[in-house]
Symmetry: D2
C-alpha cells in the first residue's frame, strides 16, 4: 500500500518509520524541509508540497494527517480537498476535538477517519493504540497501515461512526489525568510519610505483580531512577489540560459525574496560580474575621 503522510513531527515520523518497516510505500510532506529530508533518509518518497504529495499518490489516495489539532488540520484539509474524491481516505491521527472531526467528516469529499493515537514516543518500538471512527470500508481499507502503526492487529479498532475515535481518545486522556494524579497522591504520601522509602524500589516491586502495575507506573519508576527520590529539580506547575477539559465538558452535557477526572484537571489549574490561590487568600482573611487568626502576608 502507498500512504501519504502529512506532518512529520515526532509522531508523524514514527508513522512513517513503522509504515515503511512493514513494507509499504510512503510519500511524506511537512512544511519543514528538514523533516521531509529525515523521512526521505528513512526511505520515504519526499514531496515538495501538498499538491506534489497528492500527485504522487494517484487514485485511491490514502493520506495520514499528523498535524497539531485545531487550525492546522482545517488549513491542511482546505488545501487537500480540491484534490480528493469519494474513494480517497484521509486519516486524522492527531488529538482533534471529536466535534471538529464530525464536522470535517461531513464536509470532506474523501472518506474521513478520525484516529485517536496513544502510546507516546515509546510507540516507536511498540506501536501505538489506535481508536478509529468513520466508515467501515475505509477502516478496512487502511487496516494494513493500522497494523503497522499500531502494536499489531489488536492495537487498533473501529469504535463507531465519525468522531467516535477522537471521542474515545478524549476520554482516554481524561482517565490518564486521574491515573497520574492517583499515583502522584500515593507517592506523595510515601514521600512525606513516616518511613524513609526508596520510591524507585517501591515502584519496581509494584510493577512486578501488584494489582496497580501499569505502564504509567513503569514511567514513575523511570522518573525516580532518573530524577532521584526527591524528583530533583522538577517544578510543580503543570501545563496542559485541553483533552481533560473536553472530557469534563462532555460529562457535564451527559450529566455524568467525574469527580476524580475533574479534580485531577483542577489540580493543574491550581498549580498555575502565580499570585497564590485567591480562594486561600480569602480564607486567611476570613479566619481573621471570625477567629482573629493572624493574616499571613506576602513578602
Amino acid at each position: 500500500m502507498q500512504l501519504g503522510v502529512i506532518g512529520l513531527g515526532r509522531m508523524g515520523q514514527i508513522v512513517v518509520d513503522r509504515t515503511l518497516e512493514a513494507g509499504h510505500d510512503v510519500v511524506a510532506f511537512d512544511l519543514d524541509a528538514e523533516a521531509v529530508a529525515t523521512a526521505a533518509d528513512a526511505g520515504a518518497d519526499p514531496a515538495e508540497s501538498m499538491e506534489d504529495l497528492v500527485d504522487r499518490l494517484g487514485d485511491g489516495k490514502r493520506i495520514w494527517l499528523m498535524v497539531p489539532a485545531g487550525e492546522a488540520v482545517d488549513a491542511t484539509l482546505e488545501e487537500l480537498e480540491p484534490h480528493l474524491d469519494a474513494d480517497d481516505v484521509v486519516v486524522d491521527g492527531g488529538n482533534s476535538y471529536f466535534e471538529d472531526s464530525v464536522r470535517r467528516a461531513e464536509s470532506c469529499p474523501a472518506a474521513y477517519l478520525d484516529c485517536g493515537t496513544s502510546g507516546g514516543p515509546a510507540g516507536a518500538e511498540l506501536g501505538f493504540s489506535l481508536m478509529v471512527g468513520g466508515p467501515e470500508w475505509a477502516y478496512e481499507e487502511l487496516a494494513p497501515v493500522f497494523d503497522a502503526v499500531a502494536t499489531g492487529p489488536d492495537g487498533h479498532e473501529r469504535m463507531g461512526p465519525a468522531g467516535s475515535g477522537h471521542y474515545v481518545k478524549m476520554i482516554h486522556n481524561g482517565v490518564e489525568y486521574a491515573l497520574m494524579q492517583a499515583y502522584g497522591e500515593g507517592f506523595e504520601l510515601l514521600h512525606e510519610g513516616r518511613y524513609d522509602l526508596d520510591l524507585e524500589s517501591v515502584a519496581s516491586v509494584w510493577n512486578n505483580g501488584a494489582v496497580i502495575r501499569s505502564w504509567l507506573l513503569e514511567l514513575c519508576e523511570e522518573a525516580f531512577r532518573e530524577e532521584g527520590n526527591d524528583l530533583g529539580t522538577v517544578a510543580d506547575r503543570v501545563e496542559g489540560g485541553s483533552t481533560g477539559t473536553w472530557t469534563v465538558q462532555e460529562a457535564l452535557e451527559q450529566e455524568v459525574p467525574l469527580p476524580l477526572i475533574y479534580t485531577a484537571l483542577a489540580e493543574r489549574f491550581g498549580s498555575r496560580a502565580d499570585d497564590g490561590r485567591f480562594s486561600r487568600r480569602l480564607a486567611n482573611r476570613l479566619r481573621y474575621g471570625f477567629g482573629r487568626h493572624e493574616v499571613p502576608r506576602r513578602e
Copy 2:
C-alpha cells in the same frame, strides 16, 4: 449567680464581661496576672491562684474553663479536681476533642459540661452560640450564665450527654471550612473571570436578600473593603485544620462521605507544601515520559 472563670484570653474575657453585664458575680483567674487585672477592672473578683479561686466560690461551685484545648485542660482539671464535689459544675468552653470531653466527664468529681462556643470576637457584642453536652441538671443550673454568654436563651442548647456539645461544635467547624472554600471558589472565579468586578459590591448586594447571604459573606464583604479588591498582601498559605481533621476522622469511622469538607481541609494541607506538591512534580515527569512534554525545572 457566682461564676469562676479560668483562662482570660480574648474569649475568656468576653465570658467575664458578658456574665458581669448580666448582673452575675465573677471570680477570675489566669496564669497571666495582667489578664487577671483586666478582668478585675471590668468588675471581676481577681483570684491569685486556682486554689484561691476555688476558695472564693464556696459550695456549689460553677467554673468556666476557657483554656486552650488539649493538655491545658487536663492540667487545669488536675489542679481543680481535689477541690470539686458532685454538686459542682465545670464547663469546658474551649475547642476540646469530644472524646477527651467524654473521658474528662467520666473522671471529673463535679458535673462536667462540654460547651462548644462559636461566634468569634463578634460574640463580645452579639453573644455566642453555645452547644452544650452533659447532665441536664447541670445545664439547667448554668442556664442564667449561658443566657448571658450566648446571644440569649436561643443561643444555647443542650445537645445530649457528655461529649455531644464538642461533637456538634467539631462538625460545625467542618462545615465552616467548606463554606469558606465555597465562597472562596465563587470569588476566585469572579476575580479571574471575564468581567472587571467590584467584589465588595458583589458581596454587599448578595448580603442584601440573596439566597447565599450569611455572616461569613459579611466577613467577605469586610475583607474586600479592608484589603482591597485583590486582597492586597494576604498570602495563600492557610494554617489550622485540627477540627476539620477530627470531623473527617469521625466521618471515616461512621462511613459518611464528606467530599466538600475533606476537599476544603485538603486545600489547606496543599497550601503548605513549601517545595511544591510532589504529586504535581511527578505528573510533570510522567508527561515527559509518555508525551515528551518538556519538564519544567525549579530555578
Copy 3:
C-alpha cells in the same frame, strides 16, 4: 414611574406587588389571563397583549421581563422589539445565561439590563437581591423600581456592562450548590453519627450567633421542623443543575479550579442514576477480578 411587567409567575407577581406598594404604576401582561387578573386585583393595569402593554406605556418605556430563561425570552423580545426605541429600557430579571444576555443587549433597540434576581419566595416580604448588568444610565433610570423590588437601595447594584448581572448571578448559584452540600454533609454526619441529636435544635442554636449562621441554615432549621428529624419522606434524587453547569463551564474556560462547586453539581448528577452508578458496578466486578470478592447482584 410606570413599569411594564411581562411574565406573571410567582416571581413576576412579586415584582408587580412590590412595585405597586412603592407607589409606582404597573402595566402587567402574561399569556395566562388568570395571572393578569391577579395582577389587576393587586392594582396593576391589565394588558391584553404585548402590543397593548407597549401602547399603554407610551414613550420612555420601562419593561421588566420575568419569563423562563431561554426561548421564552427571545420570543418575547422578538415581539417587543418593533416597538422599542433607544430611550426605552428592558430588564431581564430571569435566570438567563450571561452570553445570551450579551447577545440580546447587542441586538435590542432599547437599552438592555440583565438582572440576576435572588431571594426566592421570601423576597415577597423582604425584597430581592438584584445584580444588574448594562448601561449605567439605564440602571440609574430604573433605580426607583430596583429600590422597590430589592430589599432597598442596598439590595441592588450595577455589576458592570452587559451580561455581568447574569454572570454574577450564575456564580451566586454555583456557590449556592456548594453551600447546600456543605450543610448537607454536616447534617448527614450529625444524623448518622454517634449521638442521637435533634437537628432542628442544632440548626437553631447555630443560627443564633455561630460562625456558620446563614439564611440557608434557617431553611435547614425549617426543614427539620416541618419534615422531622429524619426528613420524613423526602427522596434523594436531586433535579436541577443548569446554573451550576454554566458556572463550571465558565471556570473551565477561565482555568479556575472549583472542586467544591463541581462536586456539589456532580452529586446531583449521581443522584439520578436510576440503574445504579456504572462506575461502582465496574468497581464491584474489578474487586472480584483481583480479590475474588463476591460480586453483588441486582435482584
Copy 4:
C-alpha cells in the same frame, strides 16, 4: 529451605504451592482440616496443630502467617510465641495495619517481617508483589522463599524497618481505589455518552499500547467480556474500604492531600446509603425553601 505456613485460605494455598514448586519443604497448618489435607495433597507436610507445626520445623524456624488481619494474627502469635527464639523468623503476609505490625515486631521473640502481598488470585501463576518490612538479615534469610512466592527476585523488596511493608501495601491499596474509580468514570462516560460503544473493544485496544494500559484495565476488559457491555446484573453497592480508610487517616496525620483517593473511598460509603443520602434529601427540601421546587417524595 523448610517453611511453615499457617493459614491455608486461597492466598495461603498459593504460598504453599509456589514454595513447593520452587523445591522447598513446607509444613502446613490451618484450623480447617480440609485445607490442611489440600496442602498435603500438594506435597506439604501436614501439621495437626500449631505446636505440631513448630515441632516439625526444628531450630531456625521460618513461619509464614496468612491469616485474616486483626485478631486472628494476634491469636496465632500468642500461641506461637512460647516456641519462638531470636533466630526464628515470622512473616505476616496478610493485610495487617502497619501500626499493629510495629507493635507485633516489638513484642515477638522471633524476627518479624511484615509482608504486604499484592496480586490476587492471578498470583497463583504469576507470583505476587511482596513489600517487606523488618530486619535485613531476616529478609535476606527468607529471600529464597520470597523468590518463589513473588514473581521472582524483582517481585519482592525490603522497604525498610518494621511496619514499612504493610505501610507501603496500605498506600498501594489506596492508589488502587483511585485507579478503579478513574477507570470507572471513563467507562461510565463512554457508556452514557453519545456513541454506542463496545466497551470490551475499547478496553482491548487501550490495553494494546495506550498510555493508560494496566492490569486493572485488563480486568475491565474481562469484566465486559464476561458480564456484557452493560455489566448485566452487577449491583452498585460497593463493600470494603478498610485499607483505603487507613490510607486517608495516615494522610490526615501527615497533612498530605489525597483528594482522589478520598473521593474513591467516599464513593463506596455513599453507595451503601440504603435510605438515600441524607445530604441530598436535605438539598431537595432546601430547594423548596428558597425556590419552591417541588419536593420529591419516596413512595
